[in-house]
Subunit: 216 residues, 2 copies
Amino acid sequence: MAKIKFMRNKILPEKTVERLSEYRRTLLNCLAQGKTHIYSHELAGLHNITAVQVRRDIMFIGYSSSQRKGYDVNELIMVIGSILDSDEGLNVAVIGIGNLGRAVTHYFMGKRSKLNIVASFDIDPDKAGREFVGVKCYSIDDFNDMVKSHNILIALLTVPADAAVDTVAKLIDGGIEGILNFTTVPLNVPDHVYLEEYDMITSLEKIAYFVKAKKG
Amino acid sequence: MAKIKFMRNKILPEKTVERLSEYRRTLLNCLAQGKTHIYSHELAGLHNITAVQVRRDIMFIGYSSSQRKGYDVNELIMVIGSILDSDEGLNVAVIGIGNLGRAVTHYFMGKRSKLNIVASFDIDPDKAGREFVGVKCYSIDDFNDMVKSHNILIALLTVPADAAVDTVAKLIDGGIEGILNFTTVPLNVPDHVYLEEYDMITSLEKIAYFVKAKKG
DNA sequence: TAGATTGTTAATCGATTAACAATC
DNA sequence: TAGATTGTTAATCGATTAACAATC
């Protein structure tokens, strides 16, 4: 039987958290293919990183394989789940149900996950009450009530750029704790809110720069 | 007049490149509001970073303000442009024109940029020849020819997860040099290809983890 | 056992921040 | 000038990698 040291209360490095999320998806695929054990160098190879990094990440979460036959895929999935997931699942709202909002909702609905999109919100009164991609849309004015009644913790911000700043003020006011910002607008949030930028334009401009740089 | 040291041939740190892209957007807004000069601490405040970091980034690109009255907004935009943009613009293709592909295309078309979406590609023969969001769709079989004739350098990968690996092989074969990966599948690419992950699920799971961690 | 693999410490690398002289 | 601001070096922090003893 594998050992799990309970160092769960320690906060993990950001990059490790990212990779754990990625490992888990890969491990679920392995499981689907009937693979029950996986070596650190195998998992590393699938992610284009080094085996040391995989082992160090796994060390951080306090898991260790019992044999030298690699990690038990099933166990590792469970342990990562115990780190990343909340027992009760986590409720998420999409803010702004235009083209991007709908595509993102659709994208998420396709994945199994402890993260549930429970509502969308829009400023357009015509949209309130309707359902988009299987998710009910509410007026942004109902946001505060909904956050409380539906225990919404995280918001996906997919509003147009010029609405971003005002909308974020509403999200903060409503008591949201995490925001994934799809807009290209830099946002100011208080310390207790976790903000993650998700900026296509910057990602693309970065690729463009390094493609140029590589060419000489 | 401002001085520009020509250290353009040096490769910039990844994070600096990201921030330059973000600064530029902010600077364009400043310009639109009639602001001609900006202090490092102002630009920093708008991005929730320190003024030292702004100054260091600007030092890296070899620009320096002539007065102690902050940076000339217009000049700084030009200098960042000379770093990030290619003179001729850069041609981009969307691979997989489903929900996500269309939303992403729509999103980009709204921004002015030196990055042009010149084509989309799909495996579905019914889509080839049609136009989506103002961009013509081609069969993925025509990819190699199109890359050459339209000088496509970068691909946005918005295909379903199970098609990701095969599709990337085609992109590489066609001679693509940069990929923005919207799928959740980890990809293996040769050294000369610049790959950037753009993974919503991981971003969300990361937010979920740190929201939990902050609470106790 | 010998070889492969893991878990962990120490060394390195890269990015951020602190400190401060130079400038207007 | 005095105060504010910049440009840059040195120190710190965080993340990756190298090295290696321990284990099966």
